[in-house]
């Protein structure tokens, strides 16, 4: 993926991002933080303006696109209607000790206190997974629990570094 950067005097910077094939995304960042995003079907086609964002909105959307938005949950800045509990998304690596175990065998709730409320697999979400469902590498576990329970769960899912 190639990115072309151009200065636009008096305005700011323009970034042109090559996507698949000839498609291009053009992002203009203004000095005042405003972002304008255009899409082009090819280098020779007129661009369509997709949307315009303010500086703060752009950073939030950027974090979502990056997949980083839900990881650093700060309970003092985010409204959580679940009491002390928060929802986290946890990736299952191929060498995770839980990979290959059924939910019943993994005993996640007994060991950490957090519950697995859904599994995201290949782009689909299985809500309320069955105890007999097997955790497979590449799954994303959607988990509910307090901050401490969540970090215990992350330790459990993470591959053993020293192993």
């Amino acid at each position: 993926m190639t990115v072309y950067e151009t200065d636009v005097p008096g305005v700011g910077k323009k970034f042109e991002v090559e996507l698949d094939g000839d498609e291009r995304l053009v992002i203009v960042i203004h000095h005042d933080g405003k972002r304008e995003v255009f899409h082009k079907d090819g280098p020779d086609v007129d661009a369509d303006r997709l949307f315009t964002l303010g500086g703060r909105q752009a950073r939030e959307v950027g974090a979502i696109l990056q997949g980083a938005y839900f990881q650093p949950v700060e309970t003092d800045s985010v409204d959580v209607p679940l009491g002390d509990a928060i929802i986290e998304w946890v990736d299952v690596e191929s060498d995770s000790p839980l990979a290959g175990q059924t939910l019943a065998d993994a005993k996640v709730r007994q060991r950490t206190g957090a519950s697995i409320i859904a599994i995201q697999r290949d782009g689909t979400t299985l809500p309320n997974p069955d105890p007999e469902d097997t955790i497979t590498p590449g799954d994303i576990l959607v988990t509910l629990g307090t901050r401490d329970e969540q970090s215990a769960l992350e330790d459990l899912v993470a591959p053993d570094d020293d192993g």
């Binding site: 151009t6 636009v8 008096g10 323009k14 042109e16 304008e36 255009f38 082009k40 007129d46």
Partner: protein
């Protein structure tokens, strides 16, 4: 004091209202600021529907604020001047830049000579009709979304070339119009280039010093230091008979090498906007629109010829960048508006004030900028229809 304060208040409020109205009808703000200056100034019209509207006089306070407007317009031009881009694309940029200069400056010079103007007056006229308005052109690039298309490259390339050329040109004009004979002129050109050369060496190699000088946690300190240094350098230049605007330009390019660029854009740009608005207002203030009747013929010739000139040079520039006919035409259409830099030249002409420089040229230029900014907006708004019409005439519609 009360009178002066009230005048500045009326000026800035007038500019604010004019800008709001311009935004509402989708016009560029520059002609609106000039018009409100004409309206409120001491020249005609002095009354509107029986209400006296000559509320603001040309005075030192407005003059100094306007002068700061020129200085900061050029300071930001230097700050945003992309040396990297110029070097990276130097072959294409110089090709389109020279093309643009030869065609449009040439047309201006031809008009001046045809109307029997002196050499210096012709040089001013040619400069005024040559240079496009960076502010208006980039704004319409954003509004039309052309910024994301290929036609933006030759347009921005042309503007980069014009920026550096107008800096050199202003320095030259300021030096040769300083008075005296050929020798005095040669001396002052020498002084100008020594000063500017020294300034750019300091600016270039002094990046580390600038870096430290502007390093402060306080925004208040920051704006004071930027405005202070810029104004001192501009004032010193003017005292030596060197164009203050060009000195500010070189200082800006020096600062563009530091890490402070973003902060200057955030914190000092509002000061630039305020001063520049007063500058456009002051141009209107000093304009006697009754003189326009006398230059109507010249104005009509200039508008038609230089619109055609930019269309021609822009279309050829698009070809240099390998664009198809539709996009090449857009390059020409996009570059038609003239604005702030034509008026900076007028300010210099008016400060010399001899012959046509003090009366006819300012009136002509104000009329010209007003017409061209409207013509430019209309051409860009109607671009699709215009390119369709042209392409169907030439029978080479590339849209298929």
């Amino acid at each position: 004091m009360a009178e002066l304060l009230l005048e500045v208040g009326i000026a800035v409020t007038g500019v604010a209202l004019a800008g709001m109205l311009a935004g509402r009808i989708g016009l560029s703000v520059i002609p609106a600021y000039i018009l409100v200056g004409v309206l409120l100034g001491p020249n005609a019209p002095t009354a509107l529907f029986g209400v006296p509207v000559a509320l603001v006089n040309e005075g030192e306070v407005i003059d100094v604020l306007a002068e700061l407007g020129v200085v900061f317009l050029l300071f930001f031009l230097g700050l945003e001047f992309s040396v990297d881009q110029l070097l990276r694309d130097r072959r294409k940029i110089s090709a389109v830049g020279v093309l643009d200069f030869v065609v449009n400056f040439g047309i201006g010079a031809a008009i001046g000579l045809a109307f029997g103007w002196t050499l210096v007056e012709t040089l001013f006229l040619a400069g005024i009709v040559y240079i496009s308005s960076s502010a208006v052109v980039t704004k319409s690039l954003i509004e039309t979304g052309w910024i994301a298309n290929e036609e933006s490259s030759p347009i921005l390339g042309t503007l980069v070339f014009e920026d550096i050329l107008i800096a050199v040109y202003l320095a030259l004009l300021a030096a040769i119009t300083g008075g005296g004979g050929l020798r005095a002129a040669a001396t002052s050109v020498g002084v100008a280039f020594l000063f500017l050369g020294g300034l750019s060496v300091v600016a270039w190699y002094g990046a580390g010093w600038f870096e430290r000088f502007f390093k402060t946690g306080s925004d208040e300190q920051f704006v004071l230091r930027v405005v202070g240094l810029t104004t001192v350098v501009a004032g010193a230049a003017l005292a030596l008979g060197v164009s203050e605007a060009v000195a500010a330009f070189f200082l800006g390019t020096g600062l563009s090498q530091t890490t402070h660029v973003e902060r200057i854009e955030h914190i000092v740009a509002p000061a630039r906007d305020l001063f520049a608005a007063v500058f456009f207002f002051a141009i209107g203030l000093s304009t006697d629109v009754t003189l326009l009747a006398g230059v109507a013929g010249l104005l009509a010739v200039a508008v038609v010829a230089t619109t055609a000139g930019k269309l021609l040079s822009g279309t050829l520039s698009g070809r240099v960048y390998g664009l198809d006919q539709r996009r090449s035409l857009r390059v020409g259409l996009g570059l038609v508006p003239r604005g702030e830099f034509s008026l900076v030249l007028v300010a210099l002409a008016a400060s010399i004030g001899t012959g046509r420089l003090g009366s006819v040229i300012p009136a002509f230029a104000v009329g010209y900028v007003l017409v061209m900014s409207v013509v430019g907006s209309v051409l860009v708004d109607r671009a699709d229809g215009i390119t369709d019409a042209v392409l169907s005439v030439t029978g080479t519609d590339s849209r298929g």
